[in-house]
Amino acid sequence: MTLFSPFARRALPALAAAAALASACQSVAPVSDAEVAAAAAESRRDALALAAQAEEGRFGVPASFAEAAPVYAAADARLAAAAARTAAAAGTGARARLLLVQIEGCRTELAALARMHARTGLAPRAGLTAQAAAACDLAARAAGARPETGDSK
């Protein structure tokens, strides 16, 4: 057992237990805002690309942040604009609120990844990138963007 195994024993069942949420999420209808969908789709591509590079070991040291910083910044700006557009266009409706949660979720996880990257680098195969990849894929799907080939893994 690892040093962290008590956490793993507690968290894994919870993560796995929520798996059947999948059944609830097969038919999330697209939100008809092409700009928001495009922004979410592009941010998903960024998140997946950053995750792939990190898992290849390219971002293992903090100095590597400089290379990726423009991508993080562009994604953050794009998602901020998408969130503002969603909030302004759809008012306080439930769908808009839930889409906003998805967009902000992607933005939050990319920002968290960026902070970690800048401070310590991103060790490969350390479970550091899956969160941003998942959050941004959900946001893209919620916004109505088509799944990308090979994503959501």
Binding site: A14, A17, A20, A22, L99, T108, L128, L138
Partner: protein, 122 residues
């Protein structure tokens, strides 16, 4: 990959399959087309094991491991909102029932309440 780690990953997959089967039984229909969230949840479960191993091996520090855990918790909450969106978009009562079942399992195992109230339909 060490044999112990392979065992842990195999255990996670087995657990994932068992709980999915439980959800299928609850829904009264197969969830073979489980979709994106199932993939992401499996990914997060594996990420938890990776973080545990990286911490044990000294490849990441405690603060980083803790941040990764907090991120996973945030994404679970985001998934809850995604499920709610699915309900609003007509996934219906089966989705609501399955989510409540799983939210209870999460709460019993972690104390994290993902479903403070019923999902709102319509």
């Amino acid at each position: 990959m060490t044999a112990a780690r392979q065992d842990e990953l195999a255990a996670a997959d087995a657990l994932f399959r068992a709980i999915l089967a439980q959800a299928e039984a609850s829904a009264g229909r197969p969830l073979a087309d489980a979709g994106a969230l199932a993939d992401h949840l499996r990914s997060l479960a594996r990420a938890s094991l990776e973080t545990a191993a990286a911490l044990a091996e000294g490849r990441v520090g405690v603060d980083t491991a803790r941040e990764a855990f907090e991120a996973r918790r945030r994404v679970l909450v985001q998934m809850r909102a995604f499920a709610e969106l699915a309900v609003l978009n007509g996934a219906g009562a089966a989705a609501d029932a399955i989510f409540r079942l799983l939210a209870r399992a999460v709460r019993e195992r972690t104390g994290i309440d993902l479903a403070p109230g019923p999902l709102q339909a319509g």
